[in-house]
Amino acid sequence: MIEFRSVSKTFAGGTLAVDDFNLQLQAHKVTVLVGSSGSGKTTLLRMINRMVDPTSGTIEIDGDDISRVEPVRLRRGIGYVMQNSGLLPHRRVIDNIATVPRLTGVPKERAHERALELMDVVGLDRALARRYPNQLSGGQQQRVGVARGLAVDPNILLMDEPFGAVDPIVRSDLQQEVLRIQRELAKTIVFVTHDIDEAFLLGDQVVILETGGRIVQKGTPEEILAAPANDFVASFIGADRGKRRLTASSARAKGDDRVLIDAGGYPVGVISAPAGKLAVGDASPKSRSISNKTDQAGDA
């Protein structure tokens, strides 16, 4: 378990990035910190491996104050995956994955063997092992990043907007991959994103942050969707625009399936239900119009 106790961070220059932050992150679960830029989410993440030290307050991992742990040693025990993968361009894929074990003195052959296994875990073809990172696609590089994060078999995995720079289809693949890996490995994952859909998909606990690391709401995705704490949350998750209020339309898909529409009348999916059991709304799907632009922008 990771626990933040009254953590504040003022950067040189006086910016208050995080103000009196308190949070418990459960072991073996995915906690997603979600918020706009300036919400302090990345700062909070980087405090866990002491890339940033808090100005006041303490952070504990399993009850131990991390300020007493030497930063380099602490970091080698925590997996870290970042946007644009952060891979070393001058090292082959296999050496990138084996970076941390090699730093901690694992013999080269054993580290490489383990790296190849990890390529299987993250769904990378072993034939790519001898390539350099810039010879891979963006999605493949992110997979290497995840494999590197897992290389020392850490209990904690920090993921800083890892899929922010890949295209939506690849991102969706990678998200499913994270869910699969998490089912198998059950790490304590701290995931930072500004994408609320990603947060709801991956998070066991979702923490919505406002400027200064202020927690506006935290809970399971279900809890947040069912009862947004205030207008900010409603707006952030798209509830105020009717994006989350879904109704089965009268339009039939296959068999008894119905097309689902949101409160704006836009089709969002299909729901299957036995005949007669599904309350059908009166609205029928609209065609997309200019007024829906804000919705699409919100998804991007």
Binding site: M51, R76, G86, P89
Partner: protein, 235 residues
């Protein structure tokens, strides 16, 4: 050609001198510009000061530097040290800007992520930042190498110019063949040095040939250095 065969001993001796007297400043320039360049890339104030100081040193005409160094260093006029020190100053001046750019060119994301996975700062410099600065360092060093080899000839006027002797002697005797042979052997030295550098680069930086970005930034720095050196002390 007969002249060359008759004087082969002289020409080869001068060539060896020329190679030695230019190789040392090239190595000194490279070695000195690494810490200076790193320092300058890290601290903007240091960058401004270092680049201006060496910029000014670079504008001192080479001949003036050759003849005034004995007074400054307390060496004798015919000591190798005069030429080596003077050319080292020029080599550092040419190399420093490239070295500064080389260290600055390493992506901050990569450095941050190296720290995040647990590199200590010293090993991060030696195994991440320095190799990644390699392509730009190499491109600059190649320019420094060629310039130093050609600049050394000027020192013939104080009797320490290696193959430059063939230029002064050939000019005094109105004997073009000797001058041409001097040029050819100077070119050969420059080519061999460049070949050595490129080979070292291939061995140490195998990844850079596959990285179009590194190649591009290397080329830019090369062009930049050419511009810079053409404004410097002409031979």
């Amino acid at each position: 050609m007969t002249w060359l065969w008759n004087n082969l001993g002289l020409v080869l001796g001068l060539t060896a001198d020329h190679a030695r007297l230019s190789a040392i400043p090239i190595l000194v320039g490279f070695a000195a510009s690494l810490p200076l360049g790193w320092f300058a890339s890290r601290f903007p104030a240091a960058r401004a000061i270092l680049l201006s100081v060496f910029g000014i040193l670079f504008t001192i005409p080479s001949l003036a530097l050759f003849v005034s160094l004995p007074a400054v260093l307390g060496t004798r006029i015919l000591d190798d040290a005069n030429v080596i020190v003077a050319l080292s100053i020029y080599a550092i001046a040419m190399m420093l800007r490239g070295a500064t750019d080389a260290f600055s060119s390493v992506s901050n994301d990569v450095l941050q992520s190296a720290t995040a996975v647990g590199y200590a700062s010293a090993s991060r410099f030696w195994t991440v930042q320095l190799p990644l600065a390699g392509p730009v360092l190499l491109a600059t060093l190649r320019v420094v190498s060629v310039s130093t080899v050609s600049l050394l000839s000027v020192a013939a006027l104080i009797g320490k110019g290696g193959l430059g002797y063939l230029f002064t002697n050939g000019y005094q005797r109105d004997f073009p063949e000797e001058i041409i042979i001097g040029i050819v052997f100077t070119l050969l030295i420059a080519l061999v040095f460049d070949l050595i550098l490129v080979t070292i680069g291939r061995i140490l930086l195998p990844w850079s040939r596959r990285d179009p970005r590194a190649a591009r930034s290397g080329l830019n720095s090369l062009i930049g250095s050419f511009r810079h050196s053409s404004a410097g002390p002409g031979a």
